[in-house]
Point group: D2
């Protein structure tokens, strides 16, 4: 069972609603002796935090994370780590009018149909605010990975936002952290901003594609058949709010390739096997190859828009919905650190699973 829990050995259970007193994550299974503190976690939360620039919602949520357990004198102890983020900027009045209305594209109607009642304030449990807890938990995973796999790097960036698409020939890893869109091409950012601001003024929103890459993970991670590394990554990304598609390596385009095009040929390099290409996205048979692990996911346009849409009330009567409140015109931007957090959790979890089943053998050894 995993209603609100993610992971096998490194287990993250998130809790909390958009407008309750607090939300957070219970992180169970973290290796002991990992150095971590609130400041380390806060940097990732700040990356996801709303209100940072005009391309985001203007809500002002500090999203300050507190560690309530599992860390003693600056180190993890192997016991559960409770991470709590108090909700502070709750303008409940913004949401009063949706108590009896189902917003199109939102989970209002399905939560009601499933549970018979719902915390309607700000979307309650189905709000993307839940992803703040994921980012906090992902910070714990990053700290552990930094210790266990020195040199590992996990980074996400946008590759598409409606009509905007990155130019792979201009890909600049170093540029990702320098612009509001987390795109690997700083020069393109102004055009993306103009595009998004136009949509915002038109009371519209837009979808996006985020790519998350892990560099430096060892070969041998993955637990076939049903805990494959790609299976768990697909689940991790699809569980993020508004995600509608997940790709590994070549992704959906693999359907258009021939066998001669798709095969990543293998050569022996000085430090182990090397590959002519990475159509596989770093995963074969559910197990990592040691190449970059490449995952992409698509986020649908924000459903909360100021353009009127038809819907129904709880009593079945028709209503025209205009979603007020302060919403992101493209939730994909803030999904970047969330995707990174999920990647970090999955990689750490599989590293632990591997140690548990296979033990100390150097990962990826050939011969």
């Amino acid at each position: 069972m995993s209603l609100n829990t993610f992971g096998h050995l490194f287990r993250v259970t998130t809790w909390g609603e958009s407008h309750g007193p607090a939300l957070g994550a219970t992180v169970d299974g973290c290796p002991p002796g990992i150095a971590v503190d609130e400041a380390f976690l806060q940097q990732w939360l700040d990356k996801r935090r709303p209100g940072q620039n005009k391309n985001m919602t203007q809500r002002n949520e500090p999203d300050a994370v507190r560690i309530l357990s599992g860390v003693f004198e600056g180190q993890t102890t192997g016991t559960p780590i409770q991470l709590m983020i108090e909700n502070t900027d709750q303008r409940s009045k913004d949401y009063g009018d949706i108590a009896n209305t189902f917003r199109p594209g939102h989970a209002d109607i399905t939560y009601h149909q499933k549970y018979g009642l719902r915390d309607y304030r700000g979307g309650g449990r189905s709000s993307a605010r839940e992803t703040a807890a994921r980012v906090a938990a992902g910070g714990i995973a990053r700290a552990a990975l930094n210790t266990l796999v020195p040199g590992i790097e996990i980074k996400g960036y946008m590759t598409r936002m409606g009509a905007m698409e990155i130019d792979r020939s201009r890909f600049d890893w170093g540029a990702i952290d320098t612009n509001d869109f987390w795109i690997p091409d700083a020069a393109a950012a102004p055009e993306w901003e103009a595009y998004l601001q136009k949509l915002r003024k038109d009371h519209n929103s837009v979808g996006a594609i985020i790519e998350v890459v892990t560099r430096g993970a060892p070969a041998g991670l993955g637990a076939p058949i049903y805990g494959k590394l790609d299976t768990d990554l697909a689940a991790a990304m699809m569980s993020i709010n508004a995600v509608k598609g997940v790709e590994i390596g070549e992704g959906m385009s693999a359907a258009m390739l021939l066998g001669t095009q798709n095969a990543d040929e293998i050569f022996m390099g000085p430090d182990g096997p090397e590959y002519s290409s990475n159509h596989a996205g770093g995963i074969l048979g559910g197990i990592s190859t040691g190449q970059d692990i490449v995952v992409r996911f698509a986020v649908k346009p924000t459903s909360s828009i100021l353009t009127p849409r038809q819907s129904i009330r709880m009593d079945g009567s028709a209503v025209e919905v205009v979603t007020k409140g302060r919403h992101d015109p493209c939730v994909g931007i803030r999904a970047v650190p969330v995707g990174e957090a999920m990647m970090a959790c999955v990689i750490l979890d599989h590293l632990m699973l591997h140690r548990g089943q296979v033990g100390n053998r150097p990962l990826g050894k050939i011969g």
Copy 2:
């Protein structure tokens, strides 16, 4: 933990290698009192069985399934159901030359890197033969669903195979079972066949996209946040051999849409809520809406091709690999019944989860 197990309450554990004595599935948690026998299961296995026509591998595997436990006098008893398929057509000599070679695009190298040894015969555990066990287990799920949700229908079909793509304007649900490609357009089948036979003669292979649809599932299925219906479907499909991408509803294309385009507007119909469109693929916030549940997945081209490819041996020396044996030029064809089986397992599992947590309340009730 879910190394080789899939599902929460309806749990399927598959076991077995391509060239061992047998393979199968242990199905735990099936509701009691469900009528099922070997003949019912066999029809789904026959749909997946190799050697049926010239668009498939010419291996001749009868894939006869036996029920070893959990069914008494024609009904499930609530105890574990063991399904066994004996391996009969094992031409081990076809595979002898790969004992020390890593085939490009295959899991040979990663299994070796992870475990330090592998059953190399026919790919061992990483062979797509494992999916026969999934199809058998899916048959149990179908039997249970037919009893618990009368009228439910689960069907898969190909929508793309390399350059071939279905014409949605000619979509014919009834045609799917009438052609070798499971495409919803019987008239197009000859063109698909010519395309595939050309590739086979060229010693090549090709990828595909399969769409699986559930009609008639109730609203309210799904266990947010980490057991969302779409999360579990993504995991289910990504766990199938050779799958590189999974989409729900609009899928990756959601990134190109605006908020005004993507919203499925809601109206009150005579039997409950109705929607103007189904961009969501029948799932909102991880919970089913009662619309068609639409999942797509992409399968990469068969890696086993007769065109030579560069690789290495276990000792690191270079080798040119030509994969002999009898392989499908497009594994996507036989992935159709596998996708259906995974869908059936996920839907039944979530129906059971819902009953467990929420109970007897009519699913999808509004007002």
Copy 3:
């Protein structure tokens, strides 16, 4: 995996250390629509709370529980319920001298051996303070059971405390809540108190046996073979601090019985099957019979005593340990509400499991 989580569908994850900022429980899977508030939970915490009378530790911990999520307008919503208890009376100075010493009978040494470090303050994670979180979670389970199984009753009481033992011929269910020892014989309480106070003055402590009974549970609960009702009850009770033995019904004494003595004969009563006796403790083959469910567990004497005991420091040097601080002379007393809480969680969990697998069929139907 269940490092810090208990349960299948009704899942309780506890977190927190004795002297950290807070501890609590994340309760996932609770049915929606259950009326519950902090006051309802507090009554059970107050039953376990230290400092209530002279037979307990004189620490003064209010153990006030807060509901941070999962309850909206007085009802559960089906989303995770976060229960937090802030630690207030932390006299860390009492524990400073154990930072480098392993107290005999405590988990100091094994936590250190396992994790390489530990939060030594008050025993950290291994402190029985963790059971406060269980009692809070058990309150949620009780609320759900009261709704789903009207008339169900769960009650624990002591049956033994060192040389003191209850007289079954004087068993008075109504007396349990009227005395400091939760014994079913109010007249015996003064003798128990004199016995315990004598031990306290002697700088000693004593073990105990607690019996927990559920009345009014339906037949049919239990998930054989490895999720049997008695299996889960054994795990639940054995997981409580200081517990060394668990019995169902006849328990260890079953070894001394003959088959003719042990069989509970069956008769047909007006409302279903009735039994001549209850050696089975209400469970056959791991499934409830509808009789009283009877579990007993033994708690060892408090290891923290003022009588010196030999031990070692972290550097291996010998040390004589006198555990100061304010400790219960018999932790068994406060284990009573903990046992009740675990029983409530297990019964609810199995009720949900049964609904999930078997559905709405009236439980325990014959014919």
Copy 4:
């Protein structure tokens, strides 16, 4: 969820009914590279096998185990291991008369109440024949432990059978395997046999206590709070058919001890900590201390006896039941290898969990 699965990382799922075609165990998660074959497993099955001497049932079941997957060229591969035992000596006629009758002390009535139907032949799923599958799986665990923890030893023996009880002062570890009762006192065996044969002739049966000890396990095994080593051992033993009580170390008797008596004092020995005694049974705070791990469990008398007992038929009418067939007068004897198997599975599982969470650090290191 763990209806028919036991374990966290080393997972055993048993399947099969007493009189179906076969029964077995799916073992998932076994470390790769472990040498094991059918002959190694068979020795443990032979220890449990019926019909070996006159103190057992005279059924003649060869219980030959076959390995269907997961072992290649004599070594485990890390993939699921399927172990199958075909049922051969099925005298269904012996059981025909119980199709409509509920035998007292058996699971007939509760399986019927839960599932609405049951495989009544020989008790179906609730038959103790299921334990043959446990013993086979335990053999895999033993093989892995022998490789991973050289010198580890797991042994069970009877300590009580009705009025018979072992004399601890005559305890002889080497005698256990030399007599039909697995008692550590060969000279006492004739008296035990006379006692049991008398009971058999009286158409009666008797209960028993089995003690299982692990010598040579490292300190540091156990996953607090809800996956404690003792918690999992309690669950493992309580899940065995007919078990009514489980004890760790001092067990239920801990209730009669004072704190001064119960504390195991600690000293520094040449190879690490040593203890003055082992009241704890080798486990503190749910984690192993490195001492002997001592578990005891009580088995109730065989419910199938030739002495008539009152019961009801499926239609509720009264009936006098005399259980014919060939039954063990004391199932405790054959429970010895079952308890050993469960112990082996739990110890291996926790060794793997420890490696997964904590890694390579030498277990039990002090200073």
